[in-house]
């Protein structure tokens, strides 16, 4: 419909919007930021969660169930025959799934080796050959065509695979289309004959997975029960995608931070909308009065405004969804680095779409409903006659009461948090709500503290700005409502910087402190980089490497570490089997409240568990932990707890020797080498040569730390960028409000000029106002930011089982405050100049 054919009131709204494009853009930006964050976070989180599920689904093809042994240990291959005989099972295919490293010129690439029975595997999986032939019983391997092309491997070429038996060479006999199992782990999969895999992975006559294709119409629950009855000790049957559960648990923490930031962005966005809308209404009061005088009812005026807000809401939501999808592309790449595995491209599913469609217009209408309703209820006569000051001179009492009520509600929720009255699930739900309450409440209740706050600001600025400073503060106090709105915008900008910023910085500090404790050795050797879920990239290295490493000049000590997914207390967890020295308890990053003698008890075969696992299972020191092993279920005493970041703290730590009794450790996953004093450089060059020859991945301690930072950089970077974005938009709101401030004071400024104030003094007056507003926003903003940071710190106990000590980063506070004051002053430069150049007579007649 062309604008001229729109109904008159729509045309009015449209032209009114066109008249103030900057304000419309500001409103849209507020919505876009809120919606885009929600969409980006939701879509990326889903993609990350889908990564493991889809990966394992791709791997299992048509199979609905999978039988594995605990810790993916091997079991007799002929068990597949027995399971195939079950009535509900159409086919049972045994195979070996093992991580390995493909050693290429650019270093080891983590891959999954699938040892399949070439004759029977098609019952579970389809293979589309792109080139070459299918594998037989010979040593040839199949690769995905895209993967091979990316890594410069051609048909007929040779691949070098690092396995538990050492380096294995195999010819590439065929290239597969990127479909089915060839998509697993981003295509990083090598197919070889089962017999070959059994040889390379020391599993003669064994498989470590049997995948079951069910008969048509078979009930999966019944089939699972029937299969379970046939299983040996230490075996489990389940849906293949469940194997990614550990990674999903590890994601919880980052998801919580992202979710909180989404909420904060929504609130900040809503406040930007409120700010822009208030300015809009302030400017159009006379127009509404005209409409009322012409017979428009209160409801009609309110509806007109809400319709305008809704149109903005819908447009902002559409843009926000698009922006969110664009952001999610880069956030997904960050998540990919964090997880250490391929994450599927983000897809806009129903959930984020519905969330955006619901929240975008809802946040807009919520932010604008109150002002729109008030605009409709204003007596038209005063606005027609221009009797009312352009902005209210005092804050509506209801605002303050509502604000204080919201803060009190937030306080109650916090109290419930601290006292432990809430379940983790309820707490996770209420935490974002509490943050919204405290943010919204503080802005609304600002009027209560505005008087004393402005007096304080006046005392600070008085000596700096002299008479202009005093006049500026007095002017601001006279227009409390308008001042509160601007101060509120600034306050929100500061809060969203200090709150999440402080917590991100604290989390990084804690992560580094943890790393410094647990990664004490100088060098670390792996087959390939591990993924966050320890599900697809843990390459077993021959034990013998440890002996060879110990012989190197400068190697004081070589520790072997194994880590693999297990079920602890029925939950997925990561078992870390290492040589824990009694003289180095920090290696575990132990919890503060551990009893003495933990390391000694560990040596006796007890376990130390991550605080997140302890929290999840409601277990404490002295309790027994049920651990599923390939030899059956065992119960081990918990000697202590530790604060871990591996697998989100869902860890079980055992002495390697003790673990060897229950699990088939199959070599080592990591060698940590401590260098003799002053021999680290010599050892490093030896290790480089050693690893280069064998296709191993060598990291110095510093490199490992850098790698950790690199992995988290994408996600952390997103958080900082998002905060900066919200801050910038909030700042635009400040510029908008300051401009309106000056506009509304035109007559007063004209009067000051008429009674002899110089242009320079007027400019100074406006700049003093901006500084006063900045300070008035910064002081409560900093305090509230700390409160928000503290609230973000609260649920850490539920996620990680321990609450890291709350830290306040003063440099962050100082930077946020300085930037805020600078932004306010810069934003005031143009309005100040405009004010200084006012022509006195027209200004005196300004309405």
């Amino acid at each position: 419909m062309s604008p001229s054919r729109l109904p008159t009131l729509w045309r009015y709204s449209l032209r009114q919007t066109q008249r103030r494009p900057a304000r419309a853009v500001l409103t849209l930006l507020g919505i876009v930021i809120g919606v885009a964050t929600i969409v980006a976070v939701s879509v990326t989180t889903q993609a990350a969660r889908r990564a493991y599920r889809e990966m394992f689904e791709a791997l299992t093809g048509r199979a609905s169930l999978e039988v594995v042994a605990e810790a993916m240990a091997g079991f007799e291959a002929d068990q597949a025959e027995e399971l195939a005989a079950l009535p509900l099972v159409k086919a049972a295919v045994g195979l070996i799934q093992k991580p390995a490293a493909l050693v290429g010129p650019s270093g080891p690439i983590p891959v999954t080796v699938l040892g399949i029975d070439p004759a029977r595997d098609r019952a579970a999986r389809d293979y589309e050959l792109h080139q070459g032939r299918f594998i037989g019983e010979d040593p040839g391997v199949l690769l995905g065509q895209e993967f091979a092309s990316t890594h410069g491997i051609a048909l007929g070429g040779t691949v070098r695979l690092l396995t538990i038996s050492g380096l294995v060479e195999a010819p590439v006999v065929g290239l597969l289309q990127p479909s089915g199992a060839a998509r697993f782990h981003g295509g990083a999969v090598v197919f070889m004959a089962l017999s070959q895999a059994q040889r390379h992975f020391d599993l003669e006559g064994k498989v470590n997975s049997v995948q079951l294709v069910l008969a048509d119409g078979a009930d999966i629950g019944q089939a699972e029960a029937a299969v379970r009855r046939r299983l040996s000790v230490g075996q489990t049957v389940g849906v293949p995608s469940e194997r990614g559960q550990l990674a999903q648990d590890a994601l919880l923490n980052i998801e919580q931070i992202l979710a909180v930031l989404s909420v904060v962005s929504m609130v900040a966005g809503a406040f930007v909308i409120l700010n822009a809308f208030q300015m809009n209404l302030g400017e159009r009061r006379r127009q509404f009065a005209i409409l009322r005088a012409l017979g428009a009812s209160r409801r009609q005026v309110t509806h007109l405004l809400l319709r305008e807000a809704a149109v903005h809401g819908v447009a902002g939501t559409a843009l926000g969804i698009a922006a969110g999808m664009a952001i999610s592309l880069s956030l997904t790449r960050g998540m990919e680095r964090l997880l250490g595995t391929a994450v599927p491209s983000p897809a806009l599913t129903l959930e984020p779409l519905a969330l955006a469609i619901l929240l975008g217009p809802a946040m807009t209408l919520l932010a604008t409903f109150g002002p729109a309703r008030r605009a409709g209820r204003r007596a038209p006569i005063d606005d027609l006659l221009g009797k009312t000051p352009p902005a209210g001179t005092k804050m509506p009492r209801r605002w303050a009461v509502t604000g204080l009520a919201l803060i009190a509600a937030c306080g109650l929720i916090d109290l419930a948090f601290i006292r432990g009255w809430l379940t983790p699930a309820l707490g996770r739900l209420l935490l974002p709500a509490a943050m919204v309450l405290v943010l919204a409440g503080s802005v609304l209740a600002l009027g209560v503290v505005l008087g004393p706050l402005m007096r304080l600001v006046g005392a600070i600025l008085g000596p700096l700005f002299g008479i202009e400073g005093r006049l500026a503060v007095r002017q601001l106090r006279r227009h409390a409502s308008r001042t509160a709105l601007t101060v509120g915008a600034l306050m929100v900008a500061i809060v969203i910087t200090i709150g999440p910023g402080n917590e991100i910085k604290s989390a990084l500090n804690n992560l580094h402190a943890w790393f410094d404790n647990v990664a004490g050795a100088n060098f670390h050797i792996q087959g390939a980089d591990t993924d966050l879920g320890f599900s697809v990239s843990i390459v077993s290295l021959p034990e013998s490497l440890g002996h060879e490493l110990a012989q190197l000049d400068g190697a004081q000590r070589v520790d072997r570490i194994n880590w693999f997914p297990v079920r602890a207390g029925g939950r997925p967890a990561l078992l870390i089997a290492a040589t824990y020295s009694p003289d180095r308890p920090e290696q575990l990053n132990p919890a503060q409240d551990n009893p003495p003698g933990v390391m000694e008890r560990l040596a006796l075969g007890e376990v130390v568990i991550g605080t997140a696992l302890a929290q999840s299972l409601q277990l404490d020191v002295g309790d027994k932990l049920e651990l599923a092993t390939s030899k059956g279920s065992i119960r081990l005493r918990i000697a202590g707890k530790c604060n871990q970041y591996h697998a989100g703290g869902m860890t079980v730590h055992m002495q390697r020797e003790a673990a060897g009794k229950w699990f088939d450790l199959e070599g080592a996953h990591l060698f940590s080498i401590t260098a003799d004093k002053d021999k680290a450089p010599t050892l490093e060059s030896e290790l480089k040569a050693f690893c280069g020859q064998r296709g191993l991945l060598l990291h110095s301690r510093e490199q490992l730390r850098q790698d950790m930072d690199r992995r988290s950089a994408g996600t952390i970077g997103f958080l900082w960028v998002l905060m900066a974005l919200v801050f910038v938009v909030a700042s635009l709101g400040i510029a908008n409000t300051l401009t309106m401030n000056v506009l509304e004071q035109t007559r007063e400024l004209g009067l000051l000029r008429a009674i002899g104030m110089r242009r320079g003094q007027v400019r100074k007056l406006v700049l003093a106002q901006a500084s006063a507003i900045a300070l008035a926003g910064a002081i409560p903003g900093a305090l509230l930011g700390i409160v928000l940071a503290y609230m973000m710190n609260l649920p850490a106990e539920w996620l990680t089982g321990h609450r890291p000590p709350f830290q306040i980063h003063l440099w962050l506070l100082a930077t946020a405050l300085a930037v805020t004051v600078c932004i306010a002053v810069v934003a005031a430069l143009v309005p100040a100049d405009r004010a200084a150049r006012l022509r006195i007579v027209p200004a005196l007649h300004y309405e």
Partner: protein, 248 residues
Amino acid sequence: MSDGTHTVDVRGLTKVFGAGEGAVEALRGVDLQVARGEFVAVMGPSGSGKSTLLYLIGALDAPTAGTVSIDGVDLSRMDDNRLALLRRQRIGFVFQAFNLLDVLTAEENVSLPLVIDGVPEAEAARRAAESLGLVGMSGRRHHLPGQLSGGEQQRLAIARALVTRPLLLLADEPTGNLDSASSDQIMRLLCRLAEEHGQTILMVTHDARWAAAANRVIRLRDGRVADEQTLPPARAYPQVVRELESQL
């Protein structure tokens, strides 16, 4: 209680602004009746309460005491929605400051009361065109208010006030922001509306020249009716103006 014979029936109208020591009594028990088709001018010095009286009659404000009845209906018995409906359908306003919506064209401004009343857009546009024709503004229908002179803007405001065919036209200093020539045009128009269309008009002015165009002049002083003067009927407006101008 109104007897229902007057378009406007005001009884004991009092309006106090503020409270306590700072309270200002703008109107102190004003009684006033305006018959259908009558053109009444309200005069008085600044602060005498004439505009307040107009806004109370126009249901834009509520009295502190007393009653206002329009066409026999007591406004104090009406809720805000019914008052809005009354303003929309039965009262037309002309303000000193024109009060046009500057983003809407002349035709859109005029059709606005009808649009608010739910009249279909096409019908509203047709009636707006008629109303613009009545005030001699047909050629300016697509202009924005900012593109019109002060006199034209006020004619536009009158067209808007008339578009609903109101029972009562309230004009608050309609020539207050205009030069003499434009003021003359506006007054000719108002007289023509009263004479030819029988439009009931209540006009506030502080200018005796324009008040002389009315059938009756009410003078307010300190919130009370100080004087009331009925002027000879059937005087054509140009003649009135000429008489007045010769006296100046």
